[in-house]
């Protein structure tokens, strides 16, 4: 492979291109009108304009991207995450055009891309699953019947969904109609497929996922678990590896279950098997994400692997030169997703210009970003600014390192999830490891961050007053009668 096009934007485009360059391969960037100034455009060896800012006119335009590849002699496409990454039809079109799709084979994507097909595929392998229906529905009355049968709360999920989109928790029958309507509409606009299904909502669940690495020669290994329970709006904010509650035996079990899921669909490339884990540490298969995950860096930090490099090598048809026993967990890694979101107004997007932007540095500190000072956050895409990742010998040291790294990360102009990150790192539930996906609902109120800010502001106010008074003393040191004179002279 001599030239790879990265069909994505922002931090992930940049992160993939770094590995491409390291491997001595040329990179091609694509960009929308909103991203002309993005670092990924400048980093690439070649860059091609795609179209207007909305994704469906730019980053989702698969045919145009394939056309660019043919024109520029590109032999591989890396889709990153989001956009076209889990679109089996696109992957098929890429392969049909004689270009290598750096991701799973289209058939595995098709199976795992539909949650119902995925359940069907995994069934015969004895992997535990959450109670629910296994056919897609759109009928509200039928949904209410099923809800009554499996018991509220229930969860409506888009069959083609991901990232919390097209997902609604329904606490009682009277909310079913509105929730179904919104879930179906979101699913239709985000994935072009409005089918949803219903399952029991596991209370107090943890979200644990396992990294899968599978080559085209039938070798499947796992890169251990990632704990992703700290979420807001069903989307992850903090991820870590290893999980604080998983014992070596449980790790072996869940890892083997994940490998079985991958094998059930003849999976190839990087992938992630997601599980729900209840408070008794029973785990249930949730879905498989057929892409490189946002949070893949925590796995890279503890295993020392470059997952993008592996992905490219696998796509080239190389055989894995790693066995399960070769992989060892080294230390602990935590990631914070730094979103342009206001943690004081229920994490609503906070769009603006990065008037000040300084990244943290240091041993074991990694910051994957796609922005620079002076850039603004476009409204058209996911509002993630960066991923801040730390690595330390132990979990408690990693937590301390994260707090330090957040303090060293200077962002002005937009409100970010960083104060929330500090809140999580300092919270006793997080430190103890005893938390679930309801962390935000159970413990978080913006007032707790505000209180700390108020106390910091108060301390700073006293320092400012003292500084001001000292400055005045220098201007008017001796005699009160001459004070105003001297002050006037000084100005």
């Amino acid at each position: 492979m001599r030239k790879i096009l990265v069909a994505n934007r922002g931090e992930i485009a940049l992160r993939i291109m770094r590995t491409i360059r390291k491997m001595g391969i040329r990179s091609v960037a694509v960009f929308s009108e909103a991203d002309r100034h993005s670092p990924h455009v400048r980093f690439a060896d070649e860059a091609v304009y795609l179209g207007a800012p909305p994704s469906n006119q730019s980053y989702l335009n698969g045919d145009k991207i394939i056309g660019i590849c043919k024109e520029l002699g590109v032999d591989g496409i890396h889709p990153g995450y989001g956009f076209l990454s889990e679109n089996a039809e696109f992957a098929q079109n890429v392969e049909d055009a004689g270009i290598t799709f750096i991701g799973p084979n289209p058939e595995a994507m098709r199976i795992m891309g539909s949650k119902l097909a995925a359940k069907e595929s995994v069934k015969k392998y004895n992997v535990p699953m959450v109670p629910g229906i296994d056919t897609a529905i759109t009928d509200v009355e039928l949904a209410k019947e099923i809800g009554a049968k499996i018991g509220y709360p229930i969860l409506i999920k888009a069959s083609a969904g991901g990232g919390g989109k097209g997902m609604r928790v329904v606490e009682a029958p009277e909310f079913m109609e509105e929730s179904m309507a919104r879930a179906i509409s979101e699913a239709t606009s985000s994935f072009g497929d409005g089918s949803v299904f219903i399952e029991k909502y596991v209370t107090s669940p943890r979200h644990i996922e396992v990294q899968i690495i599978a080559d085209k020669h039938g070798n499947v290994i796992h890169g251990f678990e990632r704990e992703c329970s700290i979420q807001r709006r069903h989307q992850k904010v903090v991820e870590e590896s290893p999980s604080a509650v998983i014992t070596p035996e449980l790790r072996k079990q869940i890892g083997e279950a994940a490998v079985l899921v991958a094998k059930s669909c003849n999976y190839t490339s990087m992938g992630t098997v997601e599980f729900l884990m209840d408070d008794k540490l029973n785990f249930y298969f949730l879905e498989m994400n057929t892409r490189l995950q946002v949070e893949h860096p925590v796995t890279e930090m503890i295993t020392g692997l470059d997952l993008v490099e592996l992905q490219i090598r696998i796509a080239r048809g190389e055989k894995l030169d790693l066995s399960q026993d070769d992989l060892k967990i080294n230390g602990h890694a935590i990631e914070l997703r730094v979103y342009a979101e206001d943690p004081f107004t229920n994490f609503t997007p906070s769009i603006g210009t990065l008037t000040r932007y300084e990244k943290p540095e240091g041993d074991g500190v990694r910051c994957d970003d796609g922005y620079e000072e002076g850039m603004s956050i476009p409204i058209y895409y996911d509002p993630m600014i960066a991923k801040l990742i730390v690595h330390a010998p132990t979990r408690i040291e990693a937590i301390q390192k994260m707090i330090k790294a957040i303090k060293d990360y200077k962002i002005e102009g937009v409100v970010t999830t960083m104060p929330f990150g500090v809140f999580v790192m300092e919270h006793v539930a997080f430190i103890s490891g005893m938390f679930d996906t309801h962390f935000v609902k159970n413990y978080y109120t913006p007032e707790k961050i505000k209180d700390k800010q108020r106390s910091n502001a108060e301390a700073a106010a006293l320092v400012a007053l003292k500084y001001w008074q000292d400055k005045q003393k220098i201007l008017a040191p001796v005699n009160h009668k001459t004070t105003s004179w001297k002050r006037r002279l000084a100005h």
Partner: protein, 161 residues
């Protein structure tokens, strides 16, 4: 030295101190424009980024966050009360966009009477659909946006009677 009460605004916060508070504060200088204060047992590092000529407008950094400060001594406070008095008590009856986004659907019509909790429109932001509901009973006076229109944060969407 001006006596009495000192007011300090720091972003959205406002504090009052007297001379005793200032004199009693345990502040040390740790470097050029760098200070450490111990307050209620907490040790806080403060970095002074900008100061204007009066010394009353400052910008500081505390634990990675930034605060814009304004000091008001007694004289300033007197001037404040003489000059710009409260103009912010005006009640506005309108619905504003809580976030930037795209209007996906306008669910109401001019003249429609709404009860608390009714949905007025759907706003799509970052691929999430958000139902914007009304928090009181009201009648629609004017609809300022239409389907498919992008809106900014705090843009007025609907005026109420």
């Amino acid at each position: 030295m001006p006596a009495g009460i000192f007011k300090v605004k720091a972003n959205e916060f406002e504090f009052q101190f007297n001379q005793k508070d200032i004199d009693g504060a345990d502040v040390i200088k740790t470097g050029e424009g760098e200070f450490n204060i111990i307050r209620n047992g907490r040790s806080v590092n403060i970095q002074l980024l900008e100061v204007d000529a009066t010394g009353k407008n400052l910008k500081v950094e505390v634990e990675g966050e930034f605060y814009t400060m304004l000091i008001r001594d007694e004289l300033d406070q007197t001037l404040d009360t003489l000059g710009f008095n409260n103009v912010s008590t005006k009640q506005i009856k309108e619905i504003k966009a809580p976030m930037p986004g795209l209007v996906l659907e306008v669910s109401v019509e001019v003249g429609q009477e709404l009860v608390e909790g009714d949905r007025v429109l759907i706003l799509e932001a970052m691929k999430m659909e958000n139902s914007i509901c009304i928090h009181a009973n009201a009648k629609i006076k004017n609809i300022l946006v239409k389907k498919g229109q992008p809106v900014d944060k705090n843009q007025v969407l609907i005026e109420l009677e």
